[in-house]
Symmetry: C2
Subunit: 207 residues, 2 copies
DNA sequence: GTCTATACGCTGATAGAC
DNA sequence: GTCTATCAGCGTATAGAC
């Protein structure tokens, strides 16, 4: 077991390598479907050596989850109360879509866990995600009250943004099978901008 | 092994019971996460007895998938070329949402498989889903050409319907955690109708 | 048709040499 | 810190009695 005080450079590097490998394997197979052997091989280590850095498979997984959740929620945190409401939300949608394109493994990692009832993530959902959702959905409701946005259910609005954008990461195989050679990420940004612009842009039609 | 000709009533009933139990277990844990023991217990049979009706765990899974896919695609097949375009699509959205409410296990079964790269479903995607998508997206494009619907990317439109509606089944745990006591299915229908009506209703604004 | 008992591979984790 | 060797338990599947 690594000593508690001041991990060496090699320890830090190996832990990082393991977590990177774990992300690759867990995101593709889920917790139960992944094996320590696969992770060790992907990390270029032997299985016992890997378990020298982490006490168990479960420990790797939970550390991975908690480490990623913070940055995963950054795009939502960046929603700026002082910005232009419509543009803020449209920018958030695009940020989320880019994350699906650039970090699909993170998205699938969470998706895998949540479809199966989030047995190792329920606490994070309540403690980290819920307060953030409350804060931002309240902000959006304020914007609607002020007439800056067309009125909708603000929580469903955020769910919609999540599901539409993460779909391109989580269901990537299906999307690419159905679109053949066209890259989904070429046309998705326009489509999603149109959806949310039409939904949220305040009415200018009299009557 | 059951004889090939004319399965008895008890055989039919047991196979149906097993598939029902398998749906329950596979949808909650995925293929790898599910065990034959769990399925047998859920079906009220011993493990060897279960394997008398199906040759393997894999066989149960694939039969379950192929059996469910057909009815799963029914709502899309029901999209009527002769109906009113906007109302047809809005009705499709509501049918899909009802399926997420009434058959969440089926949705999660497919979701589990697809997030992990659809190793046992790729053929079905190409052979069954793709032709249907091509047919219906072409129909939608026709409607747009005729000015009956606002123009959007018809495939992304269908992806959007799938992701938004199935989200309430696949991410049920997250949604319910974040909405606490409010039932998502009380407010989701309105929200989704508004989204697609605003997106697709032909413009009446001059200029 | 249904059971008990069991074979056997895979997987998570540990022991102990170096 | 890293390795080889190995253990214990689980999970799929089968054998064979009834």
């Amino acid at each position: 077991m690594p000593t508690d005080r001041s991990p060496t450079r090699i320890q830090k590097k190996n832990r990082a390598t393991i977590l990177e490998a774990a992300l690759e394997v867990f995101s593709n197979h889920g917790f139960r479907g992944a094996t320590v052997d696969q992770i060790a091989k992907a990390a270029g280590l032997s299985k016992p050596n890997l378990l020298y850095y982490f006490p168990s498979k479960e420990a790797i997984f939970t550390e991975l989850l908690s480490g990623l959740l913070d940055t995963w929620l950054d795009p939502l945190r960046a929603l700026d109360p002082d910005g232009d409401p419509l543009e803020e939300i449209l920018a958030y949608v695009q940020r989320k879509l880019q994350m699906s394109r650039d970090f699909p493994r993170e998205s699938r990692l969470f998706a895998n866990e949540i479809v199966q009832g989030a047995p190792r993530m329920l606490d994070s959902l309540s403690k980290d995600l819920k307060p953030l959702l409350e804060e931002k959905s309240a902000l959006i409701t304020q914007w609607m009250d002020a007439g800056k946005l067309n009125r909708t259910h603000s929580k469903h609005l955020l769910f919609s943004i999540w599901s539409l954008t993460q779909h391109y990461a989580d269901f990537d195989v299906q999307v690419r099978t159905l679109m053949e050679d066209e890259d989904p990420f070429d046309s998705a940004p326009q489509h999603l901008e149109l959806m949310f612009r039409r939904l949220l842009a305040p009415d200018h039609i009299a009557g």
